[in-house]
Assembly symmetry: C2
Homo-oligomer: 223 residues x 2
């Protein structure tokens, strides 16, 4: 029998469904894993994809996490201003062995005071805002600093989860899960990161989406 490991995801309206689902899918197959999704209320959580997921616990009755994982999404800018969410993260982090985020979930960890002086990453369109929560932007799709692991945008949660599973359960266990979810990626383009995407694609996406989104996040962090 593998030692039990409790993994708690913080959920909030406007969460990016894949930020949450990618690590949940991999971690749910880790021997001994017990997963929970905690939110302010037990009502369905509207994701950014047009669907809704049900929390398993509210913030008051969630189990103590061994691994605390905070996904991101456009709802982060609102969740930053929600004291119940931030207090939950502070309380859980105090007892967690691993404090982790995917995508813009890093800013919730940051608002909870957990990234001060830490190297961290987030979605590429928001990395310049990490100093606003005292973090030092670091290169890499997954950044570890002590027991804090932050991952880049959205799909990085897969690489993050498999890496953490390898750390906790060994490479063979992680490799079996990678094989079970057939994670043998064949993206149609090389440009999944601005370092590799055509400048016109990056600039167009920033102009259409991310300049405003980052400004909204910055206002929330300064608010």
């Amino acid at each position: 029998m593998s030692e039990a490991v409790t993994i708690v995801f913080a959920l909030f309206p406007g969460i990016t469904q894949l930020d949450f689902t990618a690590p949940a899918q991999a971690l749910s197959r880790m021997p001994g894993a017990r997963l929970a999704g905690a939110a302010a209320k037990l009502d369905p959580i509207a994701t950014d994809s047009g669907f809704a997921i049900l929390p398993t616990h509210d913030f008051g009755d969630a189990p103590q996490a061994d691994i605390l994982c905070v996904p991101g999404g456009h709802g982060v800018a609102d969740a930053i201003a929600d004291p119940a969410t931030i207090e939950f993260l502070i309380r859980q982090a105090a007892g967690a062995a691993w404090i982790t985020s995917v995508c813009t979930g890093a800013f919730l960890l940051g608002r909870a005071g957990l990234l001060g002086g830490k190297r961290a990453t987030t979605h590429w369109a928001y990395t310049q805002l990490l100093p606003l929560v005292g973090a030092e932007p670091a290169p890499g799709r997954i950044v570890e600093d002590g027991n804090i692991v932050t991952a880049g945008g959205v799909t990085s949660g897969l690489d993050f989860a498999l890496t953490l599973i390898a750390r906790l359960r060994g490479e063979a266990a992680a490799q079996a899960i990678q094989l079970a979810i057939e994670y043998d990626p064949a993206p149609p383009f090389a440009g999944g990161h601005p370092d590799r995407a055509p400048a016109a694609v990056t600039d167009g996406l920033k102009a259409r989406v991310y300049d405003a989104a980052a400004a909204r996040m910055e206002a929330a962090l300064r608010g």
Copy 2:
């Protein structure tokens, strides 16, 4: 304004949450996309990851799909025996421009009579069963045969969705979505497919999980 495209996911208990979420996340950002998740009832659908998602429609009131997408999961073996699910797929497929599956969702398309004489793929542990629904197993993470697109296991839904978006909206649109979800994969191991995984990892996983799972699927298909 982009032409509206209605994407309908078939949902059922025991669905693999990432089979559904990966293409939903990418397709939800396609210009003009309208997503629906249809199930037999509007009750929450328990996924394989310990969470639950809410259908947006039941089979009776779901909109006609332009793109019909059937995810997989261990629940497929039960869903195969559910006439309401199969009738829904037959009805939707008759009016859909694209008929698609991720992972073992292929067997639901197959049971609905949609894969007869078609080249197709599914999760690597089940490909040998494709002839039971009249399909011809074909190599590749994504297999197109006419308007039928089948994708391999779980995470292949990302590559599938981005490829379909490029087809429908052009490469620039697909590349922007790939960049938005930072799909710049860095899996920790090379072995996300049995062709590349160590034989011991594949054999161990088959013995622990997939020999029984494939036998259960085979029994359902012959039942």
